[in-house]
Symmetry: C2
Subunit: 280 residues, 2 copies
Amino acid sequence: MRLAVIGVGLIGGSFALALKAAKAVEHVVGVGRNSANLELARTRGIIDAVAADPASAARHADLVLVAAPVGQYARIFSALMSTKAVITDGGSTKRDVVATARKALGANLARFVPGHPIAGAERSGAAAADAELFRGRRVVLTPLKETSAEAASVVEEAWKQCGARVSRMDPAEHDAVLATVSHLPHLLAFALVHEVARRANSAELFSFAAGGFRDFTRIASSHPEMWRDICVANRDRVLDEVRRFSAKLDQVKALLERPAELEKLFAEAREARDKWIQSS
Amino acid sequence: MRLAVIGVGLIGGSFALALKAAKAVEHVVGVGRNSANLELARTRGIIDAVAADPASAARHADLVLVAAPVGQYARIFSALMSTKAVITDGGSTKRDVVATARKALGANLARFVPGHPIAGAERSGAAAADAELFRGRRVVLTPLKETSAEAASVVEEAWKQCGARVSRMDPAEHDAVLATVSHLPHLLAFALVHEVARRANSAELFSFAAGGFRDFTRIASSHPEMWRDICVANRDRVLDEVRRFSAKLDQVKALLERPAELEKLFAEAREARDKWIQSS
């Protein structure tokens, strides 16, 4: 199988490395805006060749992974309108990607299998690519009614070769689930760090922050442009989550006057989390 | 030096182990409500003897560490009213501890050096004790105007022997700083997990939660009773932090309509966090 990767960053680069390691792919061509990153990808053996643009990268490929920022998808999909390859993507939101694909892919929509590998990390670029990134991780595919069963199965098989656990979901359901378990926590972490950083005594505050704060805010070291795009694309769901969480905070605030109920909430949260950790 | 530890859990047990490892302490006597835990502490070499109550534990000690839940301090301090040992504690809040000590310690207030080792972990009990727990960690001492300089220096030296970085602070300042960098994040983590656990589709939600969610919510596996006591003792400061954070969330909510400003907030947060991580 020949693979084209549009955007050779953490996700695109790791997908190429994992498929090469699994001997599922023989040749990888990469496209990207950053030539130093592409050169690094070639040096690391992530890609075998560089193409000038998505159309030429896809020309001899069996599978194309679009792993660029979602803001570039319209242009990239237009360039893939007549490829014979199966197309998938790694975008963190799916309703917007599907809408863009419907407009830009034309008759090639049947070859498109929207996907989201849930394997974020605050590192980025080809330097961070890792053949093991997806092992045991979840990948959600959101095939459309137009998507051919064959294309969906090619993409599912590729992710399985990377060691991922593949699920299928409706794009709207995907965006709702991710808003709760990923987008909201990211917003909360960014907000907390920003709040602390803005205080007059921020240096003192940070100097007494410990491991709990470090882990809680790890995701606030994520890529600002990517998270802007996610929040914009999934704005309605994210807004809904922020509203629910604000209401929850109001409830917790009231419980500060009712210690027994506060302890019960803490205990229920701990129990739910421990159960989740044990089962995952 | 002979040490008495009232409450042989993570903090008390680790303090004893660290001082033994540093050969700063020859003999440790432990007191606690849970006899199985005390027996484990003896088996692990954390303590050398068990005393029936705080008064008898302190009788032949040079230093007493109170590392029990803060709710038990009034009773414990009353029992230490006539000890000749230097007294310190490991409570996570300091204004309430100081108020309790003023009422219960009588003339022995001069021997008391309130302290807080900032080395929380979601594990607890003698089983979790670790001689290296405090290495490189911060310990805040909040001596009172009545505290003797000699007592403060005994306690400071002991924590240094554990490898900790010792600071001195006013109790009110301590409680304000910790409300921001510790108590608020704990509340947010408990609230988020509780919110997710209460949803009708919580099983699906948890099954798609990844590493970001795991780290963000790690502190929601903390001890419910201990965190209830912290929130109650520091209620005014915690309330203030929850209010500020709610206002921040409202601001972030508004920025969902202004992508460039949202990205700027994300970028500023990332930069502040990365700077902190690099310097710590």
